[in-house]
Structures are given as C-alpha cells and as structure tokens.
C-alpha cells in the first residue's frame, strides 16, 4: 500500500474519480483529469467501461491519453466513430450516457459551472473557451461528475455566468425546469470528495484525502464549507492504481512528447 508521501494531490484526485466509475458505465469524457480517470478505471477495476468522446468515438480504449478530444488514437481504438450531429442527437440527447464529466473555471456550491467568461458577458475581463458540450452534458447525462483543483478563485460564492446548470439555487430547481436527470452527484477535487446534500443539494464534503485537514479544504474554497457528519478519509491510491496512472502518463509523454514536423 502506498502512503501519503508517495502520491500527489492531482494523482489522488484522478484515482478517486476513477474509483467512482463502474464497469457498466457509459462515460462522456472530457480532456485532462476526466480522461485520465476514465482510462485508469478502464485499466484497473472497470475493463468493460464504455468511453465516449464528443468527437464521435464510441467505446475507445486508447493506449495513451489523447491530446484532444479528437485524436486519431481515439478513433483507431473505438468500436465505431459516428458524426458529431449523431453523437449529440442519438447518444447524448438520447439518454444513453450514464456519467458525464465536467471541469470548471468557476463552480458554486450547487454544482453550477462557468467556463464562458470572467466578468460581464458582454464586456468580459477574461474570455474563456466557452461551454462546448457542457450545457447539454449537464442535463442529458444520467449523472454528472465534476473534477477540479480547489482554489478560492475557482470555487466561488457566485459564478459570473451559468455555462451549465447543476442544481441551480438548490432543492428541486432541476425538476422545476423539467430536467429529469440527476445532475452533479459527485465533486472530486485534489483535496476531497463532495456530494450534494439530499435535500438542499449543496455540495458537502463526505471524504477527505489522506493528510488533508478541514482547514485545507476551507481555505481553498470561496464558500463556507459544509462537512458531512460522517466524514470519511479517502483510501490512499493502491499500488496498482498509482502504477497504472503513472505508466499511462509515461506512455503518453513518450508518444506525444517530442513530435514536431519540419
């Protein structure tokens, strides 16, 4: 068993996210931490998990992590590759995705996400890339997992723009908008696991990663953090998990590292 000194907070975040996935899941995967987490799950406890990238690749099993959501590796290892309109109509809107992964530039306590602008939409301080698939991933997937590194400028009291809808103002806000899916059910950060309160839907810390204190969590979060009455400690990465993740990253580095044309 690895110990605290053996892994980074980022590694813990990725591995904790991987553990939340099961063999029967059909995941809509984004680039970065979600992609690593989904592929670690596939290479450890969930070999039959179905990974879908919005570029149209269904059932991919890349040997290395893709650089983008449309890498050739994803297509070459996929069961099939469909057009992007079909991906969004039949596969996402069709309700076939069990878990959608989202990242966030800004996140609030109800799992609402901003990746559009910092500041006013029409006079932005920073123009971010935008929502991409997120607005419909957030409402069409059966549930949504959010991954992000904790920081006060990211986890904020009020987001500047509602790129994708989580639990809105909390409670039954989703149902009131006619949304039938669960929305954010898990937030995986580099410090902790959070789940929405069953009633209020406010994200609540249910498990802290090894060595993390309540103060660590609070000082990197822009809202007053609620901790579960039954707070657990996240089991540290196993040897297998850590080795799998690191080998995946090493293969990825070797594959993509020095590539450059004339």
């Amino acid at each position: 068993m690895a110990t605290i000194s053996d892994f980074t907070p980022n590694e813990m975040m990725t591995i904790a996210a991987a553990r939340a996935l099961s063999n029967d899941d059909v995941c809509f995967v984004g680039i970065g931490a979600p992609s690593a987490a989904c592929n670690v799950a596939r290479l450890t406890h969930a070999p039959d998990i179905t990974l879908i990238y919005e570029s149209g690749t269904i059932g991919t099993a890349p040997d290395v992590l893709p650089l983008s959501i449309g890498d050739g590796e994803l297509c070459e290892t996929a069961l099939t590759t469909v057009s992007v309109p079909e991906m969004f109509r039949y596969w996402l809107q069709g309700g076939r995705i069990s878990v959608g992964f989202l990242g966030a530039a800004q996140l609030d306590r109800f799992g609402n996400i901003n990746t559009t602008v910092i500041g006013d939409y029409h006079k932005p301080k920073v123009r971010l890339p935008g929502g991409g698939g997120a607005p419909e991933i957030a409402t069409s997937c059966k549930q949504v997992f959010i991954t992000m590194k904790q920081a006060t400028r990211g986890m904020v009291e009020k987001i500047d723009f509602y790129t994708s809808f989580g639990h809105g103002d909390g409670g039954d806000h989703r149902q009131r908008l006619g949304i039938t899916t669960k929305g954010p059910t898990l937030l995986i950060t580099d410090l902790a696991l959070w789940k929405p309160d069953p009633e209020t839907k406010e994200f609540t810390v249910v498990s802290m990663h090894p060595g993390v204190t309540r103060e660590n969590v609070q000082e990197t979060c822009g809202w007053k953090v609620r901790f579960s009455d039954r707070l657990e400690e996240t089991p540290p990465p196993t040897e297998l998990e850590l080795t799998t993740l690191r080998e995946l990253q090493a293969r990825t580095e070797r594959a993509h590292g020095g590539k450059k044309g004339s």
Binding site: V84, F88, R174, K260
Partner: protein
C-alpha cells in the same frame, strides 16, 4: 459539379468579402491550407461559423478578416485559449468582432438542419443555461403532442464551406474517414463547398458501401493539397503536429510575434508548403 482547381483559384472563385463561411473539422482534418489562402487573398468582413474555432480562426481574426464568429468552443485544442480571438473580444485588436455563442449540441443540430433544408433545428437543450439569456437566436418551440418545451436555433446556411478530406475520385466524389465531425453537414448546408484533399484516385469502386462520401454534384471545387490539414492530422496520412500547437500558444501571445509569424508562414508561403510540413509526422 466539382471543378478541380488550384487552391488559389478555388478560394478566389468561392469566397467573397462579407460571406458567411464555415471552415469545419473537429480536431481532425482542419482545413489550414484553405484558411491560409483566404488570409493571403485578404478577404474582409467574414462571418465565421465553427463548432470549435481553433488556430485558423485565431489567425483569420488576428489578421482582421473577420467581423463575426458563431461558435460553441473557442480553444487551442489540448493546449488552452485562443489569444488572438481574446484580444479581439477583450481589446478590439485589430478590430472588434461580434460573437454569437451556442453549445456544441446547438451547433451540430444547426448544421444538421441546414443539410436537411430546414429553417431551424429543434432539440432538447439549454435548460438552465445562461447562453439563452445573451443569445437572441436561442428560442423555443412547444411539442404539439406532449407540451414539452424544446430549444430551437436557426439552421446554419453558410455561403461557403471549406473542408479537408482524404481522397477525391477523378469524377470529383469525396471520401472523408475517421472522425468525420460535421463536415458532411457543413458541405450539404452550404451554397458552395470547397474541399482540399490529400490524394486524387481513379475511382471509389472498392469502398465499403456505408462510408461518408460526398457525391461530386454536392461539391463546388476540389484542390489537391497534400498536408493541407497541418498541424492537425489526416487519418491514414499523418499525425497531429503537437509541437506546432504548443508553439502557437507562444506566437499568438504577442501581437508583433504573431504578425511576423503570419508573414513568414502564411503571407510569404503557399499551399505547396504543407506537403513539406507533414514529412515525418
């Protein structure tokens, strides 16, 4: 009916100042060579449509060709932000641009509706999302059977689409393989379509029947530009040049560096340079 032309002539004949134009490709098969030709020819006041504006849209915006961008995700894929597009939006350099922002689902459906000859796309989307408050082109429609409220956006109907593909046959039919994105829809939704291809082959007689093929009578012009998607990739021909994507992050961070890079690599180069750029990839 597809006409085989030089890329210069195909762009000259099919892209006009003020056009609504889509250079499509979803990470794969990005029509870099065609975009560079548009920059060299100095088109003005273009409205650019694209799900994923990336380096080529950053370049066209930075060179001042663009008055408006319709998009759903503006990023340097796998790297980060689009710095020239940001500079235009945040600081109006070299000119201010208008943006019309959608989700991927909306954009994909809008192309699909355009290909299908419909005036609008109908889908389940934008629930609780902020874009519908800032984009007046996001409206709704009520299902006459269930009463459910669905999202509606106008169909995309560009004046011209540019795409890159693997092969054309001598008759002018075009084959797109691998991650096919929205290219077929973009071509069918547009009044005119220009395709750059890696290769021209005698015929498509041995193809599997269910591939993504555009008949010659749906394509306006074909230009043979090997490597024309560089630094993105062409499935079956060459890989992504990731170093070039990383380099762009630096080049685009500085206006002068950007202008110098464009001069050397675009304004003073031609379509023939692309074949060299993909050697060894």
């Amino acid at each position: 009916m597809a006409k085989f032309q030089s890329l210069h002539d195909a762009v000259r004949d099919n892209l006009k100042d003020g056009d609504v134009v889509a250079f499509e490709g979803f990470t794969h098969l990005i029509p870099h060579a065609a975009a560079h030709e548009a920059i060299r020819q100095g088109r003005k006041d273009l409205t650019l449509i694209r799900m994923t504006p990336d380096i080529i849209y950053d370049q066209m915006i930075g060179m001042g060709l663009v008055k408006k961008v319709v998009f759903s995700y503006a990023g340097n894929p796998g790297v980060g932000l689009l710095r020239r597009m940001r500079d235009a939006i945040e600081n109006g350099w070299p000119r201010s641009i208008e943006t019309v922002e959608h989700s991927h689902a909306a954009m994909a459906n809008a192309y699909e509706a355009g290909a299908a000859g419909l005036p609008c796309a109908v889908f389940r989307g934008y629930r609780g999302a902020g874009l519908k408050d800032v984009n007046p082109e996001i409206r709704s429609i009520t299902c006459p059977f269930t009463g459910e409220e669905l999202a509606a956006v106008p169909a995309h109907r560009p004046d011209v689409a540019f795409v890159h593909a693997q092969k054309a046959s001598k008759r002018g039919d075009v084959l797109v393989e691998g991650i096919i994105g929205v290219q077929k829809e973009a071509v069918l939704a547009s009044k005119r379509a220009v395709v750059t291809v890696e290769e021209i082959v005698d015929d498509f007689d041995d193809l599997h029947p269910n591939l993504c093929v555009l008949p010659h009578w749906t394509v306006t012009a074909i230009a043979h530009v090997p490597g024309g998607a560089h630094p993105s990739y062409t499935h079956g021909y060459y890989d992504r040049d990731n170093a070039a994507y990383l380099e762009w992050d630096k080049v685009s961070a500085d206006r002068d560096l950007f202008m110098q890079w464009m001069k050397t690599n675009v304004l003073e180069a031609g379509p023939g340079a692309f074949a060299e750029r993909v050697k060894g990839l």
